[in-house]
Structures are given as structure tokens and as C-alpha cells.
Amino acid sequence: MASDDIVLSAENLTKRFGDREAVSDVSFDVRAGEVFGFLGPNGAGKTTTIRMLVGLARPDRGRVRIRGLDLARHFTRAMAHVGAIVESPDLYRYLTGRENLEHFARMLPAGASGRIEGLAALVALSERLDDKVSTYSLGMRQRLGIAQALLGEPDVLILDEPANGLDPAGIREIRQLVRRLSAERGIGVFVSIHLLSEIEQTCDRVAIIHRGRTLASGSVRELSARAASDRVRVRARPAGRAAETLSAFGAVEAAAPAVGATSLVGGDGSGDGVVTARIPPDRVPEALRALVSEGIEVFTVERPVSTLEEVFLEITGGETV
């Protein structure tokens, strides 16, 4: 059991607003040193979940544990291990960056104010630290927010849409920072991102939330493999008859001419083509025998590894992020 590695865990979190259940039975664990992505379309319950993780909202059911401490019962002890940005990096605009950091350092055990210079350098804000936050760009505010979150040397970093409103360069900066923090400091990072490409590049594991429920969770590779597990791609000739034959074993999703095929005969399906069908793994040999006995030439059979985007679309039923 590596349970002592788990720095943040949600157990059956449920939140109702009136009759509507905004978050239902959401559970996951975040381990030290990993980046955990939280993925879902807008309105799926991501922000409500995050508010419960940091104690801004009380769950109607379920529990949040931070390094094993029950958040509802040991709020101050638990929050000493957490740094967070919820929704947007809202800091005091009429204060300078330094004054903001000093303000939040005073809310932490002694010693936090000594880290201000180092953190400002880490997030590349040293030169602008004595300017008012109202003059900062969104990216600078995001970085100041991260510096603020790191003041207390947390074991858990919770970031809500840190890439929101940033240009590609800003997004890359934040991604590199997050990866560094988890790798070098062993921080467990919980991050909600709505850009799928970002999740793949940033996260070790993900949970997908949709309509308040976690529909899938696991490592990025696991999830991709899972969604792909019953998908078979067969390159055969003639493609039309191959598709017909395979439809007896599972739904045929697509039949297309093969790229770089040796011979292409119109669109009647008599040529070389690729057929994608969803066939359970144990029926694949049977399906291949059927193709061969039909006299169909089979060139390749493969299980495609789908992108997270495909996984996501499949799991959420085609709703865009």
C-alpha cells in the first residue's frame, strides 16, 4: 500500500444546489509528485469540486482528505499543506505583488515571508514585484497566484484552469513550471485544464468528469487504451465486403480507402481499404477467420491507440470541452 503517498483524496464528494446534483460521488486520489488532471466540459462540476477540495464549499456527502487529515474537521491543519488558485488568480489589485505576498505570508506560520524573493524569481516576477497588481497582465497575475500558493511550501497544489486566457507561450511557461514543481519538489498537483492537448502534455493521470460524475480515471495511457480496447482497424481488399463481413461481429465505424493503397477502385468498396470496427478482443480471431474464408485479402490488423480527445468525446457522448 502506498497510501501514505496520497496527498489529496476525494471520497464520494456530492454537492446539491436545490434539486440539482452538481457533483455526484466524485472520488479520486492525488499522489505526491504527480500531476493529476481534472477534465470536463464547462458546467461539468469541476469548479464546484475544487471549491469543496479547498473548503470554500461544504460537501453534502463525502469527504476530502489532505495528507490523511479530514478537511471538515481539521481545516487549518489540512490547509497548511495546500496552495490553491480557485477559478481566477484574484489578488489585491491595489497592492503591489510584494505586498500581496507579504499579506498572505502573514496568514502562514512564521518563515513564509523569507521565501518571497525566491518564489518571485521562480515565477519570473522579480522585476515587477513592486508594481501594483492592477498593472499586471493576466499571465503575470497567474504566476503571482502560483507564487502565493507556494508560499507555505505546500504538499498539494490545486490549480483551477491555470491556462485560461493565456497565450501559447504563457501556457507553455505554466506547464513547465507545474512539471518542475511536481518533479523537483514532490508536490502533488491537482489541475483542472480544459485544453486536451495540455492534459496529455502536462498530466500523469486524469479523471474525466461529466454532468457531476467521474466517468473515467487513470493514467493518460490507460485511458486511451481503455477506450481503444474494442476497436480494431483492418486493412483489407475488397474493403466493402470486409466491412460487410465484420459487421456480423461488431459495429463498423468507418470504411475508408487506405492511404497509399496499391490499387484504388472507385468508391464501390471493391478496392483496398481500412475498416474500423468495434469487436470484442475474444471474437477477433473468429472475425479474421471469417474474412479469410470469404476470400478477402487481409493486409494488416491493428488496435489503434486513440488520442485523449477521442476518449473524451466518446466518454462524454460527443460534447465538446
Partner: protein, 325 residues
């Protein structure tokens, strides 16, 4: 973590939002204006023969006092008045003229209705709602500090700011008053302890105290009333989560408090409203209360009760409510 640090944070926010500067400016501008207007009006009626007149009045009172059939209460008053005139004559001050110290005390009376409560609202009405509007509440409440401590630090900071405001108001009033009307007179005797019970004037509780003592009491009462207004404004700030709504509500209440007693003085239950009890210094100084049965003790008790309930509700709501803004 350490509570003084939290209070320091809140005071820093007041200062950086220019709250102190605004309050100082308002006080200086307003008091300056009052002194200017008063001195213009006074110049026209200034009596140059006040010494002779005062001596004549003292002689008249001495004649009365020789009269044996005079009631004891009147005798006490006459003795006091004689002492008061004597005090002023010895120091070469017109007893009917206003002095710097007198002006400073009068400022507490005049400002306890509206000005000091207003300045209290400047600090307190957005102390929580601003954090909601700026979104900073999310950071403030996700630090390892309990919500009750966060709100307590805000209550302490706003109370400190209100205290500073009252002290500063007194200092500015004395500076302007002293400059315009002369600096001495803090130990001039004044009458205090008036009770207006029904239609009868009861002088038995009246006694003479030096002006400085009286002024400290009057400022204390004005300060107490302003603190209570601050506590109630903290509640509206917690409940409404919008600075405009919170300020508007408190302003409406204060204005209602100045109108109600005049328009509907028969409605006695209004003595249990907090706004009716803000002029505590007036009730203490003996001007007839707008509502029968109102005394300074009752007024202070009503205000304290309102403030205590407001603080309790504010804490209960603030500690429990989900932050979804």
C-alpha cells in the same frame, strides 16, 4: 497565523484603499467649514461689554442667594452659575462665548447623529463585501486560518479605524476651535447629569464637572455609538456581499434615524431601533430626548444589544456559508 498579523493585513487594506486619507479629508473640510461659518456669524453679534454684564449678573445672583426663602435646588444652581461666571472672569473669557474646548465637545454631540456613523460605514460597510467582489475571498479563506479568525481580525481592524477616526475628529475640532475661539478652558466647570423625566425638570442629579471630564464622556459615547454602527455595517457587508448594497442599506438606515423621531415621535417603539439611539452624547448632555422614556443608559443598552446580535449573526453566517462567488 498570528492574530496581530491578520489585523495588520486588514489595516493595510484600509490604508492602501485610501480610506484613512478620505476620512481625514472629510473631517478637516467639514470642521473647517463649520468654524468658518460660525466665526462669520459671531463677529456680527460680538458683545464688547461682556465684562460689565458678567459682573452685573454675578451681583444679581449674589442678591438672590441672600434670600432665605429660595428653594434648595435653585440655590445649588445659583451657586454653580456664580462659580462659572467667576471662573471665566478670572481668566478673562467671555462666559457666553464659545471656546476651543467647548467647540471640540460640541463637535462630538453634533457628529454623533450622522457624521461619525457615516465615517464608520466608510470602513465597515465593504470590509467583507469587497473581498467577495474582488474575488480575493477565495484566497483569504483557503489559507490555514479559520474563518472566525479572519472575520475577527476584520472586526478588530475596523474598530481600531473607527477609534482613530473619533480621536482624530476630536483633535481636528480642538485645533480648529482653538485657533478660532482660543485654546484655554478645559477646566471650566460645566453642568452635567440632567434628567428630563416627563415634564418636570429634576435638578437633583445635576452636578458640576470640569469640561475636560465632560468632553471625554461625550466622546466616549460618540465612539461607542460609532463602533456599534460599524458592527451593524459588518453584518450588512457579510449578508449582502455587495458593497453598493451594503452602503446603501446602512445609509438609508442612518437617514431614517434622523427623520423618524421628527415625523413620528409618538411611535415609542422606535426607541428600540439602533438609529434612534445614535445621539447618545445628546441624551447624556440633557437635551430633551425625541422619544419619551429614552435615557443614555437605555440608549447605550439598545445599541450594545444591536451590535452584539449583528456580530453574532455575521460570524454565524460567515463561518458557515459556502463561497461560490
Amino acid at each position: 497565523m498570528r492574530f496581530p498579523g491578520l489585523v495588520e493585513n486588514e489595516l493595510l487594506k484600509f490604508a492602501k484603499q485610501r480610506r484613512f486619507r478620505v476620512v481625514v479629508l472629510i473631517l478637516v473640510a467639514l470642521i473647517g467649514l463649520i468654524v468658518f461659518a460660525q466665526s462669520r456669524a459671531r463677529e456680527r453679534y460680538h458683545d464688547k461689554n461682556w465684562r460689565v454684564e458678567t459682573q452685573e449678573r454675578m451681583a444679581r445672583i449674589q442678591n438672590w442667594l441672600r434670600n432665605d426663602r429660595m428653594p434648595a435646588s435653585s440655590r445649588r444652581w445659583a451657586t454653580f452659575e456664580l462659580g462659572r461666571l467667576q471662573y471665566h472672569l478670572e481668566r478673562d473669557i467671555d462666559p457666553e462665548a464659545i471656546s476651543g474646548p467647548l467647540f471640540a465637545r460640541a463637535f462630538a454631540n453634533a457628529s454623533s447623529y450622522l457624521l461619525l456613523p457615516l465615517l464608520a460605514i466608510v470602513f465597515a460597510a465593504d470590509v467583507v463585501s469587497a473581498e467577495f467582489q474582488q474575488g480575493t475571498i477565495k484566497l483569504l479563506l483557503t489559507r490555514p486560518v479559520g474563518r472566525a479568525r479572519v472575520l475577527a481580525s476584520k472586526l478588530v481592524a475596523q474598530s481600531l479605524a473607527i477609534t482613530l477616526t473619533v480621536v482624530f475628529g476630536g483633535i481636528v475640532a480642538y485645533l480648529f476651535g482653538g485657533f478660532a475661539y482660543g485654546w484655554p478652558g478645559w477646566d471650566a466647570p460645566v453642568l452635567t447629569g440632567f434628567r428630563v423625566g416627563g415634564d418636570i425638570f429634576d435638578p437633583s442629579t445635576v452636578r458640576a464637572v470640569p469640561l475636560w471630564q465632560d468632553a471625554i464622556l461625550v466622546y466616549g459615547l460618540a465612539w461607542f455609538a460609532a463602533l456599534c454602527v460599524g458592527a451593524i455595517a459588518l453584518l450588512t457587508s457579510v449578508l449582502l456581499r455587495s458593497t453598493a448594497a451594503s452602503m446603501g442599506t446602512m445609509l438609508a438606515a442612518l437617514i431614517a434615524g434622523t427623520i423618524l423621531p421628527r415625523l413620528a415621535s409618538q411611535w415609542e417603539a422606535q426607541k428600540f431601533l439602533f438609529v434612534t439611539n445614535l445621539p447618545l452624547p445628546d441624551y447624556y448632555s440633557g437635551s430633551p430626548p425625541p422619544i419619551p422614556g429614552l435615557t443614555v443608559e437605555l440608549g447605550a443598552a439598545v445599541l450594545a444589544a444591536w451590535a452584539a446580535v449583528a456580530v453574532l449573526v455575521a460570524f454565524a453566517v460567515f463561518v458557515r456559508r459556502d463561497v461560490l462567488a
